[in-house]
């Protein structure tokens, strides 16, 4: 009789332990899988192509037509925004950079060279933004893929803009993307 009671108590405690454990696991999974699922169910937002988009506290750009923000590759707190135009990826990064414009260009060149499949990169060419910020630009090509990086540096803030996509997409939107890249501004007072 006593053994039966102990067994019943143990079984009840085991069930409650199982229920509690499942509740904890459900809580963990709700955050680990549920929140990403909600994120996946929401569509990326399109952005205005006339108003400047502040992608960092001291940097902005006017996005090209039909651009949308790729939310899961965007981190405003780190000054990073990724836009998508018909499958073409357009990523802008603003950061504090103590070096020279050429050093900034060399760094992104090294990163691009390390990407698998990149076949050639053009020499850096001087460019200037619409607001007069000096910059450097180069084009790269790979297997069925092309892109372009542009770097600007002003008052210790460096902005890197990388356009990357398949040949057809980049060619179709080249003019609009180039126009957008030239609208980069860096606020010196921030």
């Amino acid at each position: 009789m006593i053994a039966d009671n102990v067994l019943m108590a143990a079984t009840k405690a085991w069930r409650r332990n199982l229920a509690g454990s499942l509740a904890v696991v459900a809580g963990v999974l709700a955050l680990s899988l549920g929140v990403p699922a909600i994120d996946g169910a929401l569509s990326n937002t399109t952005v205005s192509t006339t108003a400047p988009l502040e992608f960092a506290s001291n940097a902005s750009v006017v996005p090209p037509p039909d651009a949308s923000v790729v939310a899961d590759q965007t981190s405003p707190s780190q000054g990073v925004v990724t836009l998508a135009v018909d499958g073409v990826r357009y990523r802008l990064t603003a950061e504090s950079f103590p070096g020279t414009l050429q050093q900034l260009a060399d760094r992104i060149r090294a990163e691009v060279q390390n990407v698998a499949g990149i076949q050639a990169i053009s020499p850096d060419q001087a460019v200037t933004s619409n607001s007069g910020i000096p910059g450097l630009q180069a084009t790269y090509v790979g297997e069925n893929r092309t892109g372009r990086y542009t770097v600007y540096l002003q008052s210790g803030t460096g902005v890197t803009a990388v356009v990357d996509g398949n040949d057809a997409g980049v060619t179709a939107h080249r003019a609009a993307l180039e126009t957008s890249v030239r609208t980069v501004t860096i606020d010196q007072t921030a």
Partner: protein
């Protein structure tokens, strides 16, 4: 949360499960192991490449933050001294915080930021994402870890302070793993396997922000969980309400720390403004926690002092000895008195007596007469040892002297120049020698001042090394 484990507690022993096979019968044990392995896999996937790119920086980060964590473990164990929790449960709490909570928070935070980008603006996300994501995902995940500890060992939660202690360990595990990942991110941003960013992260996150971080937030949440588990006489509404209220307070503290509140002050006052805002926020968080901790510790002490007082037996514990058990300062003063009287041997004997008294009180509270009988031999041995060195009453009574105060003030001179370390140390040696020669007690401030001066000297040394590493 009212899971009862049928195993009858064995007086005199603090083992949660009689054997590993007994532990393996409980579902919580297996779920804990599975989630821990999954967390480790997620972290390796996320940070493996960064570790491979900067192995030297990774090793330094692990060493620095392990030492940092060890200091916190010592502090938490001191808070938990009256009723020490089993070490493997501490390890379980650390593992949950470090691997389960941090790994899943990594996924949840990334997704939540993405959602915020989609439903708000980039400028809003830039300012408020950290204040929303961190508290929401991380506090819930860490609190689930405290619930898991309850499921693993319900019998070990005997006071609200126990919940505070387990919560603190979950938070500490999270905090130190997060510190290491921040170090790796800082190194990646610098672009080379350099040690400077690791030291900078250690100074900022370990030293400047370490005192009012995840350890404190989760300790608060742990108090709520323990309340809900212990107060079965209250209504479900009350118990769940208090637990959620504690979680909300932890969330609020985390939100306050991460929020851009008073950012305009930092804009106008520069670096000093930033430090001032950090200090004000940190002291608000820490102050709130310390006030609550005072009441939790008082509650636990009174729960244990009662059984000892009820014995009316000075061979078990005198009134002064029971009073000395109250906190780490009073316990330390009683040991200090013993040290001044009879050196390190007497110090150790009094410490053993205090341990035996606390263990007996805990077992009496949990197991009544059987607990008393089980712990009595340990206490008798300790009492005999104290009597052997000539101490009849291991009290914490102490004098207050001018020399003690002067020594205490002089300890702060070490902040100006470490050479002043010699002054508090000199006062200590002189004070102890004088007390022994006159058979008097010595002012414990002499010891406090010497310890403080040593800590300041060590901090000076660390900052010198940090400056050298950062700036060359």
């Amino acid at each position: 949360m009212s899971i009862e484990q049928p195993a009858t507690p064995v007086p005199g022993r603090r083992r949660v499960f009689p054997s590993w096979s007994a532990a393996a019968r409980w579902p919580a044990v297996w779920f804990f192991i599975a989630l821990s392995i999954a967390g480790i896999v997620i972290l390796i996937n996320a940070f493996g490449p960064a570790i491979a790119d900067a192995p030297g920086a990774f090793v330094l980060a692990v060493v620095l933050f392990t030492i940092h964590g060890a200091v916190f473990v010592t502090i938490i164990r001191a808070v938990d001294w009256l009723e020490p929790e089993p070490r493997w449960l501490f390890a379980a709490a650390l593992i949950w915080g470090g691997f389960v909570a941090s790994a899943n928070a990594l996924r949840a935070n990334t997704a939540l930021e993405s959602i915020l980008v989609k439903v708000t603006s980039l400028s809003f996300v830039r300012d408020w994402a950290a204040a929303i994501e961190g508290p929401t995902d991380e506090e819930i995940l860490k609190t689930l870890g405290i619930v898991m500890i309850v499921l693993l060992a319900r019998k070990q939660i005997n006071s609200v302070l126990d919940g505070v202690v387990y919560g603190a360990f979950v938070g500490l595990g999270f905090q130190e793993i997060e510190n290491i990942t921040y170090s790796l991110n800082a190194v990646a941003a610098a672009g080379t396997d350099s040690l400077g960013p690791v030291v900078q992260t250690f100074v900022v996150r370990g030293l400047l922000a370490g005192l009012w971080s995840h350890t404190v937030y989760s300790a608060i949440a742990g108090a709520g969980v323990a309340y809900a588990v212990l107060h079965r006489e209250r209504s479900w509404f009350n118990r769940i309400g208090v637990a959620l209220g504690a979680l909300a307070l932890a969330w609020l503290m985390h939100f306050l720390w991460n929020s851009p509140a008073a950012a305009s002050l930092t804009d106008s006052a520069g670096t000093y403004g930033i430090l001032l805002v950090l200090l004000i926020k940190g002291l608000l968080i820490l102050g709130t926690f310390l006030i609550l901790l005072h009441f939790f510790r008082k509650d636990e002490y009174e729960g244990l002092a009662g059984p000892l007082e009820s014995l009316h037996n000075p061979w078990i514990a005198t009134h002064n000895e029971i009073a000395a058990l109250r906190g780490w300062r009073s316990r330390g003063r009683a040991r200090w008195n013993a040290y001044v009287y009879g050196g390190m041997r007497a110090y150790g004997r009094v410490r053993a007596l205090q341990r035996a008294q606390a263990d007996l009180a805990v077992d009496m509270r949990d197991n009544g007469e059987a607990g008393y009988a089980a712990r009595l031999p340990q206490l008798q041995r300790a009492r005999y040892g104290v009597a052997q060195v000539g101490i009849g009453d291991a009290d914490a009574l102490h004098p207050t002297t001018i020399a003690g105060w002067i020594s205490f003030v002089l300890a702060f001179a070490v902040l100006i120049n470490p050479i002043f370390l010699i002054l508090p140390l000199g006062f200590l040696v002189w004070g102890v020698a004088r007390a022994r020669s006159t058979r008097q007690r010595a002012d414990p401030r002499l010891r406090t001042a010497a310890v403080l001066a040593l800590i300041f000297a060590l901090a000076y040394l660390v900052s010198a090394v940090a400056r050298y590493t950062t700036f060359g």
